[in-house]
C-alpha cells in the first residue's frame, strides 16, 4: 500500500507545486493526469523517492519512503519510463534480470510466463536495440515487474500508441499488477485512459 500526504515541492524556490494526498491499496490503480507543466513528472519523482518534498511525506506500507535504504526503495517502487532506457550491452532477458540484481531482490519465478504472455518469448536473447518500440514498451513493463515491486509508476505508457494497442497495454498492466499484488499509478495526459482506470487525480 502506498499513501501520500499533501506534498509541496519547488525547484530552487521558484515555482511551487502542491500535490493532493491519496492512498492506494494493493492491486488498486490510479491515474494522475494533467496538462503539460502541471507537475505530473515532478509528482512521479516524489513518489519514486527521487526527490525530497519540502512538505509532506510518501509512505510505503506505513514506512516513510525516504527512510528506506536506497536499494530497497528502488526495488519496491518500480518506474516505467516514457523514454525506454535500456543497457545496450545486454540482451532483453539480461536487462530484465539486471534490474532485480541491482535492486538486491530475487527475480520473480514466473518470468518466462511473463515474457510469453507479453509475446516476447522469442526475443529474450535479442539485443534491446533491435526490438520495435512496442516490444521495448512491453519489455520495459516486464522489467518493472521483475523485481516484484509494491508500486509501479508508469510515466506516459501509452504515448505514441494507437487506440487498440493503448487499451491492450493498459489491460495487461492492470491484470499483471493485480496478480502481482502491486499498486499501479499511471501518470499521463492521455484522455483515453480515463475510461480504463477508475480512480484519477487531475492536476
Amino acid at each position: 500500500m502506498i499513501a501520500c500526504e499533501e506534498l509541496e515541492f519547488s525547484y530552487d524556490g521558484q515555482r511551487q507545486f502542491r500535490f493532493p494526498a491519496f492512498s492506494l491499496e494493493v492491486g488498486e490503480q490510479l491515474l494522475i493526469s494533467g496538462a503539460s507543466g502541471s507537475g505530473k513528472s515532478t509528482w512521479l519523482q516524489l513518489l519514486a523517492g527521487w526527490r525530497r518534498p519540502q512538505k509532506g511525506k510518501v509512505y510505503l506500507e506505513n514506512q516513510a519512503l525516504l527512510d528506506l535504504p536506497e536499494q530497497q526503495r528502488a526495488s519496491q517502487v518500480a518506474v516505467m519510463h516514457q523514454n525506454m532506457h535500456f543497457i545496450p550491452s545486454l540482451n532483453s532477458l539480461e536487462n530484465v534480470q539486471l534490474s532485480a540484481q541491482l535492486g538486491g531482490v530475487t527475480l520473480r519465478s514466473d518470468l518466462p510466463d511473463l515474457f510469453e504472455q507479453l509475446g516476447l518469448q522469442d526475443k529474450t536473447k535479442q539485443s534491446v536495440q533491435t526490438l520495435s518500440r512496442g516490444e521495448q514498451q512491453r519489455l520495459s513493463f516486464i522489467r518493472a515487474l521483475a523485481a516484484q515491486p509494491k508500486v509501479l509508476l508508469a510515466d506516459e505508457p501509452t504515448a505514441s500508441l494507437d487506440d487498440e494497442h493503448c487499451h491492450e497495454l493498459i489491460r495487461l498492466m492492470q491484470s499483471h499488477t493485480q496478480n502481482s499484488a502491486c499498486s499501479l499509478i499511471v501518470i499521463s495526459h492521455d484522455q483515453r485512459l480515463k475510461a480504463s482506470i477508475e480512480r484519477s487525480i487531475t492536476l
Binding site: 513528472s41 512521479l44 519523482q45 519514486a48 527521487w50 526527490r51 536506497e70 536499494q71 530497497q72 526503495r73 528502488a74 526495488s75 518506474v79 519510463h81 516514457q82 523514454n83 532506457h85 535500456f86 543497457i87 545496450p88 550491452s89 545486454l90 539480461e94 539486471l98 534490474s99 540484481q101 541491482l102 535492486g103 538486491g104 523485481a147 510515466d155 506516459e156
Partner: protein
C-alpha cells in the same frame, strides 16, 4: 556481478578503448622490452664471465678481444704464439689458464679448441658420452646438439670462418659427448682440443711450440695480479691483455645509453595512454549518463557505480598490459639477433619477473584513478533529470 557487467559494457564499446589500448601496448611493451633485454643481457654478461680475470690475445681492440674470447660474439683480434701465452699461463700470480683456438664453425655454431678446464669453469656437465680424447673429436653444447640434431657418434663437417654463410668445408668431426643445458656461452659452442683446430688449419704434427692460439683465459691467484699483469703485458710484449670487468662496464655504459632513451620514449607513451584513459573515461561517462542513471534508479549505489566504471577501465588496462606483454615477448623471441646478441645467443622470451607484476598493478591503479577523478560527477548524477529530461 559488477565485474561481469563491466566486461559486457567494455566489450560492447571496445572500439572506444582502442586508442588507450594501443598506447598502453606500445608504452608498456617498449618498457618491458627494454628492461627485460637489459636484465637478460646483464645476466648473460655476468654468467659468462665465469670468474675469468684476464684475457690475453693479439693486439687490437680490448673490447673485441673480450667479446670474441669470452662471449664468442666477435672475430678474434688475431692469433698469438702458444709459447708466448704459456709463459703467462705459468706465471706465479696466475692460478689457472685456458688456451682457446677458434676460427671455424658448423652452421653458425663456433668450434672452439680448448682444454678440459674450460667447461669446468662454467660448471658444465656431460649429459651423454665423454670428452674428446683425440683430435677431431668434439663435445657439443646443449643448444648445438638440439639445433643440429646431432647425437653421440654422429659426424659432421665444419665450415671455415665464424659466419654461417661460409660454405667452404673445413674438417670432419665426430661427436663424443653432449653437455647438459648450462645457460651460458658453453651451450652454443662445439668444444674440442686445441690440436683439432691446428689439425684443420694444417699444423698437425705435435709442433705445439710452433702452434698459435686465439686467446688465453686467465684466473688470478691473488688480486695483486690485477695491478701488475695487464700493464706488464700491454707495455712489454706484443700481446694484449684485457680485463673483462673493465670492458664489460664499457658495454653496460653503451647499453645504458640506448636503454635510457628507449625507456623515456616508453614513459612518454605511458603518459599519453594515461591522458587517453582520462579522456576516454570522461567521454564514456558523458555519453552514457542516461544508462548510468538507469542503473542508479534500479538501486545500484553510487560507490558501486564508480566501481563499475573503474572495472571497465581496468579491463582496458589489463588488455593493454597483456597485449604489451605479448608484443614484448614475441619481439624478444624473434628479435634476439636484432637486439645485437648474435645468432648464438637466444633471449629467454617467456621469463617473467616481479617487474611485470608491478607494471600490471600500476596499470590497474592508473585505470582506477582515471575513474576516481570522475567520481564527483558520478556521485552527483541527477537521476530524474537524466531519465525524464526528454519527457
Amino acid at each position: 556481478m559488477i565485474i561481469k557487467l563491466a566486461w559486457r559494457n567494455w566489450r560492447y564499446r571496445w572500439w572506444q578503448h582502442a586508442l588507450s589500448i594501443l598506447l598502453l601496448i606500445l608504452g608498456i611493451g617498449l618498457l618491458l622490452l627494454v628492461k627485460e633485454s637489459q636484465r637478460q643481457a646483464e645476466a648473460k654478461l655476468e654468467r659468462n664471465l665465469a670468474g675469468i680475470d684476464l684475457v690475453i690475445g693479439a693486439k687490437g681492440s680490448p673490447l673485441q678481444l673480450i667479446l670474441s674470447a669470452i662471449y664468442q660474439l666477435d672475430a678474434p683480434t688475431g692469433n698469438i704464439p702458444l709459447k708466448e701465452a704459456q709463459r703467462w699461463a705459468n706465471h706465479p700470480l696466475i692460478a689457472e689458464a685456458v688456451p682457446l683456438a677458434y676460427g671455424d664453425a658448423a652452421k653458425g655454431f663456433r668450434i672452439v679448441g680448448c682444454n678440459y678446464r674450460y667447461p669446468e669453469w662454467y660448471a658444465a656437465e656431460l649429459a651423454a658420452g665423454a670428452y674428446w680424447k683425440n683430435n677431431m673429436e668434439v663435445v657439443l653444447g646443449a643448444r648445438v646438439a638440439e639445433s643440429l640434431q646431432l647425437k653421440i657418434g654422429d659426424q659432421f663437417d665444419g665450415n671455415h670462418g665464424l659466419d654461417q654463410g661460409d660454405e667452404e668445408e673445413h674438417g670432419h668431426y665426430t661427436v663424443t659427448g653432449i653437455l647438459k643445458p648450462n645457460n651460458s656461452v658453453i651451450d652454443q659452442l662445439i668444444l674440442c682440443s686445441v690440436g683439432s683446430v691446428w689439425a684443420v688449419h694444417g699444423h698437425e704434427g705435435n709442433h705445439e711450440a710452433e702452434g698459435e692460439i686465439s686467446a688465453l683465459l686467465l684466473k688470478y691467484k691473488t688480486p695483486r695480479a690485477a695491478l701488475m699483469l695487464p700493464r706488464t703485458i700491454n707495455e712489454n710484449t706484443l700481446l694484449q691483455a684485457a680485463a673483462p670487468a673493465i670492458e664489460i662496464n664499457r658495454v653496460y655504459f653503451m647499453l645504458e645509453g640506448g636503454s635510457k632513451s628507449l625507456s623515456w620514449i616508453a614513459l612518454a607513451l605511458l603518459g599519453l595512454s594515461l591522458i587517453s584513459l582520462f579522456v576516454q573515461s570522461w567521454q564514456g561517462i558523458q555519453n552514457r549518463l542516461d544508462e548510468l542513471a538507469l542503473m542508479r534508479s534500479f538501486g545500484l549505489s553510487k560507490l558501486k557505480l564508480v566501481q563499475l566504471l573503474a572495472w571497465e577501465n581496468v579491463w582496458t588496462a589489463l588488455i593493454g598490459f597483456l597485449g604489451a606483454e605479448l608484443m614484448a615477448r614475441l619481439l624478444l623471441h624473434f628479435g634476439g639477433n636484432w637486439m645485437g646478441f648474435g645468432a648464438a645467443y637466444r633471449m629467454e622470451a617467456w621469463h617473467f619477473s616481479n617487474f611485470d607484476l608491478y607494471l600490471a598493478m600500476a596499470c590497474i591503479a592508473i585505470a582506477k584513478f582515471a575513474v576516481l577523478a570522475q567520481a564527483r560527477k558520478l556521485y552527483r548524477l541527477d537521476i530524474p533529470d537524466l531519465l525524464l529530461r526528454d519527457a
